[in-house]
């Protein structure tokens, strides 16, 4: 099969050359950060590392880590490396404990991000003749903006649908003959089912490929989506902190995602000790941006558990591949593509006059995440009227939606009925079988 690349010279560059390029960029990036980001300069000084100690990627391990809590501490401008006058955009993650992560971009940063997404689209078989339907959310979420930009770069006719409104998605998809679909895998599965209900067969729509990410999904789901939509389904990885989707993308081999190593330097570390692990070992994925201007993060801990591989890929790309993340190092859940922290749920409960005695139950039914929270009622809240209890559940559900961005189903239960192990409640039951 003939291969297309968006930036062939980078994507198929010999590994030694990529490493040389990374080393050059890293030295400059560290200098840029040290000079412009007081927060990280302090971390380096505390560790006794100077920019001149970093002579290449072999010195990466000397640098201090950054984690989500640093982003929270430094919110909003503490990790900014360019004057705001040079920045042209922000993107943001769904809130974490009431405080969002806000990432800044210069025009250069947006260009390189969109290049990464363009590589993903071309790897999925996209060309300027394609009609690319972007059904990721637009706005602060990076999904819509990233794939939209990438699609423009490739020269596809871009349908900026954003998420939701399935009827309209299907109408545009069929009327305008979309050939590439970009959205979350669960939404792709849902669209597939809706099309089927309308009597559309895979042959009756011109869709040929999908680029799906922003939430965990399985090989089984991939097969299912590929069959119902009659397409090839490709995985894409990214996080707002490093730019957005496109940090890594899948090629025709569909055996892991090529990391855009000219922009992002990946490491796998032992999440307990922070020690760098050799290739092929499972550990926490850490990214260092190599040429970002506004929001360059060095050694950012993603909390994703993952494996890297340099095995030769049949697509011709030499970029290192990451496996689908196998889990998280913390208790963050990704539900319907949204990051949910138990601490956010506790905050809402306390605000609404409940004790933080609760249990989260996540499952996946028909390829959609279900999200239920059992909450212990206070004795004084109990009433003999069913309607009042139901309206308490509704009100709490709405408060959760405001905080989390997604709507859980609330179930009020009697006090002291949530199972506790060793005095501590079992907070999360995740029944989704993803690995």
């Amino acid at each position: 099969m003939e291969q297309n690349y968006y930036q062939k010279e980078i994507e198929t560059m010999p590994v030694e050359d990529i490493k040389r390029l990374q080393s050059e960029k890293l030295v400059a990036q560290v200098k840029h950060v040290y000079e412009n980001v007081e927060y990280y300069r302090r971390l380096m000084d505390e560790k006794g590392v100077k920019p001149e100690d970093i002579k290449g990627i072999e010195d990466l391990h000397k640098l201090p880590f950054l984690s989500k809590s640093d982003l929270r501490d430094a919110y909003p401008y503490g990790l900014l490396a360019k004057p705001l006058s040079e920045c042209v955009r922000i993107q943001s993650t769904s809130g974490t404990t009431g405080r969002r992560v806000v990432a800044f971009y210069t025009q250069h940063d947006i260009d390189l991000w969109e290049d990464c997404c363009a590589r993903a689209i071309v790897a999925a078989g996209g060309t300027k003749d394609d009609v690319c339907q972007v059904a990721y959310g637009y706005g602060l979420f990076t999904g819509g903006a990233g794939l939209n930009g990438g699609s423009h770069k490739v020269g596809c006719l871009t349908l900026p649908m954003s998420s939701g409104n399935t009827e309209r998605q299907i109408q545009f998809m069929t009327d305008l003959g979309a050939t590439i679909l970009c959205c979350t895998p669960s939404y792709a599965a849902y669209l597939g089912e809706s099309l089927k209900e309308k009597g559309c067969t895979p042959d009756s729509i011109p869709l040929k490929a999908g680029i799906f990410g922003a939430e965990p999904w399985t090989e089984e789901m991939r097969k299912n989506i590929e069959e119902t939509l009659g397409i090839k389904a490709y995985d894409i990885y990214g996080l707002t902190e490093t730019s957005g989707p496109g940090v890594a993308f899948e090629c025709c081999e569909q055996t892991g995602m090529h990391i855009n190593e000219d922009h992002f330097l990946a490491e796998i570390i032992d999440p307990e000790t922070g020690e760098v692990l050799p290739e092929g070992e499972k550990g926490e994925l850490v990214f260092t941006s190599l040429d970002k201007e506004a929001f360059p993060l060095l050694r950012y801990r993603t909390r994703d558990i993952c494996v890297l591989s340099r095995k030769k890929c049949s697509c011709g790309r030499t970029l290192v591949k990451m496996a689908k993340p196998m889990g998280r190092t913390d208790d963050m859940m990704i539900i319907r593509g949204v990051n949910v922290f138990p601490s956010q749920i506790e905050t809402v409960l306390l605000n609404e006059g409940y004790q933080p005695n609760y249990q989260i139950i996540v499952d996946r039914v028909n390829n959609n995440d279900t999200f239920d929270i059992n909450v212990e009622m206070n004795p004084e809240q109990f009433t003999d009227k069913v309607s009042e209890i139901l309206s308490m559940e509704r009100k709490l559900g709405e408060a959760m939606k405001t905080m989390l961005g997604i709507n859980p189903k609330i179930h009020l239960v009697a006090p002291k009925t949530i199972a506790r192990s060793e005095g501590k409640a079992v907070r999360i039951i995740d029944k989704r079988k993803l690995i």
Binding site: F382, D384, I389, A414, P415, T417
Partner: protein, 143 residues
């Protein structure tokens, strides 16, 4: 005038109801009337018993979520149209009703209706004005 009703939160689990009735039986509680409202997730069991204090203590000691509420008890004749007559009184007085349940009296040719309304006093005086006989906890205990 009102009578006392015990409301119990019942989990939607196998055996949940029998555990409650078992506790009451062991405390020598006699049930006069009951109703259950159910949702997908839980049930609300409402009880009229011969000894409210003992029943209340037994249930709370066993960890049940309970609430004691005042409800209106009214005696009606055991004949067609008698319930309608009582309900019409409430309707004409513009009294909203949450729920009701009824039970037969054992000896006389009467039935009793338990009414949960917004305002007990208004409902009671409306019913009395129309000649209805209201029942009290003392009446219940005598049953």
């Amino acid at each position: 005038m009102a009578i006392k009703q015990i409301t119990v939160f019942v989990e939607n689990k196998q055996g949940a109801l029998v555990s409650i009735t078992d506790i009451l039986a062991k405390s020598n509680i006699n049930l006069r009337a009951l109703s259950i409202a159910e949702t997908n997730d839980f049930g609300i069991l409402r009880l009229i018993v011969n000894d409210v204090e003992t029943a209340k203590k037994a249930l709370s000691d066993n960890g049940y979520l309970i609430k004691v509420t005042d409800v209106v008890g009214v005696k009606i004749g055991d004949a067609p149209g008698k319930l309608t007559a009582a309900l019409s009184v409430l309707d004409k007085s513009g009294i909203n009703m949450e729920y009701l349940y009824a039970f037969m009296a054992r000896t006389e040719r009467h039935a009793y209706v338990v009414l949960r309304v917004e305002d007990n006093e208004i409902a009671e005086s409306a019913l009395e004005r129309e000649g209805f006989h209201l029942i009290t906890d003392a009446d219940i205990n005598k049953l």
